[in-house]
Symmetry: C2
Subunit: 307 residues, 2 copies
């Protein structure tokens, strides 16, 4: 059932097909029970494009710009200043310094990120996210953000679902940011979206109450937090884990069994022409893929089409 027509023949496609065949009982004594067929996917850089900046960062920067328009004195404070001035140098420095071990600017940016959508209800936040994702254009690819999902990965999700898998997103991105569009784009319902979240608070009223986003972090679903959140949400260890960066290493490590088929996929961005070419932030993951035998998915070689 299902097919992988946007995947080129090669070791990655074969690894996926062999894995699914084994899960379905092709050469074992019996198939893995359907309820145990769990697959987890990172989102940014795995299911959709994350360059030149994560899609959610664009969403947040636009909100910071709007905040400056409403409250001009914010213009003098970071990160509003950088957003208002489209100062990509400052924003790039955040990530560069982070990788070098200095999180001073990360904390300043995080303060703005949390303030940007603090104090609004989860429904209102979703409406903003939904509107943005359906209307904004990718800055360089000449397509809307919802068309920035990778066609081969969408096809893989459908192939897995057709073979009894439950697909979950386990992203470092915001859970409530992704939820309004995951069913339509990925066929993944909102209850299967795991991601980062701000702290939430319930406030009662006589119309059913509201869940409000507080301007403080709850948790960042990245690195060793990913297996914890996957367990908390599903109560299971995945059979398939797919990611593209160092923050996905624990999730892929966790997708391992001693008595069942399992598969780890690491997307390698090596196609400057059709997408982007980069390994920054994925160095240890690539090392680990080599030492652990993870399947490295080359955008250039393995995907017949990217979008």
């Amino acid at each position: 059932m299902g097919g992988l027509s946007s995947w080129r023949d090669g070791p990655s496609k074969r690894a996926i097909e062999d894995f699914v065949a084994r899960v379905c009982g092709a050469d074992g004594p019996q198939p893995v029970p359907v309820e145990e067929r769990l697959a987890v996917f990172d989102n940014d850089g795995t299911l959709w494009c994350e360059k030149p900046m994560p899609i959610q960062l664009d969403f947040i920067l636009r909100r910071l710009v709007a905040m400056v328009e409403a409250e001009p004195e914010l213009r003098e404070r970071q990160p509003w200043k950088a957003a208002h001035e489209r100062d990509h140098g400052w924003l790039s420095a955040v990530m560069a310094e982070h990788y070098a071990g200095d999180d001073t600017k990360v904390k300043i940016l995080a303060g703005g990120v949390l303030a940007a959508h603090g104090g609004i209800s989860v429904q209102d936040f979703e409406a903003l996210s939904d509107d943005f994702l359906r209307s904004a254009q990718h800055p360089t690819l000449g397509r809307g953000y919802l068309e920035c999902a990778y066609a081969p990965m969408v096809e893989l999700l459908a192939f897995l679902a057709a073979n009894g898998f439950s697909n979950y997103i386990a992203s470092g991105g915001g859970r409530d940011f992704m939820r309004p569009i995951t069913q339509e784009v990925y066929g993944i319902p909102r209850e299967r979206v795991i991601g980062s979240s701000t702290a939430l608070e319930y406030t009662s009223d006589d119309r059913g109450g509201t869940v409000i986003r507080k301007a403080e972090a709850d948790y960042l679903d990245d690195g060793p937090e990913k297996p914890v959140r996957i367990w908390s949400r599903t109560g299971r260890r995945p059979l398939l884990g797919a990611g593209n960066s160092n923050g996905d290493i624990p999730m892929l490590d966790f997708s391992r069994h001693h008595d069942k088929p399992f598969l780890r996929l690491l997307v390698l961005h090596d196609d400057e022409e059709r997408e982007f070419a980069y390994t920054s932030g994925a160095e240890q993951a690539l090392d680990r893929a080599a030492s652990e035998g993870w399947t490295v998915v080359s955008v250039k070689d393995d995907w017949a089409s990217v979008f």
Copy 2:
């Protein structure tokens, strides 16, 4: 589809049947889409018996007793002392003082609860819970704990599922304590169990790593935390909320819509002969049921059989 044969004819059964008929489009222009048919249930005192003590408390006390056997000096410290001496007076005082606003003993008990299963993997914890729930007997009802689920509520869950609902447990009890038995007892898969949890930590190794329970609380899924956790897990507002105590008020409040059918159920324990009769811890919930028109389910009047 499905039926409610262990419910006596009366206003509660009628309210349930009317609600489900409206959700399925019996007298509206169109049915509520299946993906929006979310129902949430408290567990202790709503789906299964919570007297003379919550089932999980029995599990924990037995573990504390075992800890004293392995480490006799714990005998002098609370709550190990009370567990070892079967001092129900001390344990009753915990709840009595808690309701009176004094949480000194609650904190002492919590320290023991967290230590009881700290430092073990989530899988090992589940194996302990599973074994306990399948072997231990209720202290007074003359039945195993898995037979302490309320037959009419199990029937209600099946009736809802047969009508397209996704049923979730939203319990103050431990999520990982319930998970091994919810499919079998309630037809609720483990990914639909929301409950309290200790803090968890991922530790890596070369065999897939492990999620470990830390001896510290993460959150207590009770009161205003219930709507927050329901939203976090499902991204939806329930159509049906069912509970039995003050801690369920925000969840039942949250199960309200202005444009869809909704139903709030409050189980009233008023049957000393077949189960237990008590309203302690449910006083405000009963007041709210009266003022908000929640459906009060009388164990004595509404249930033809209890177990």
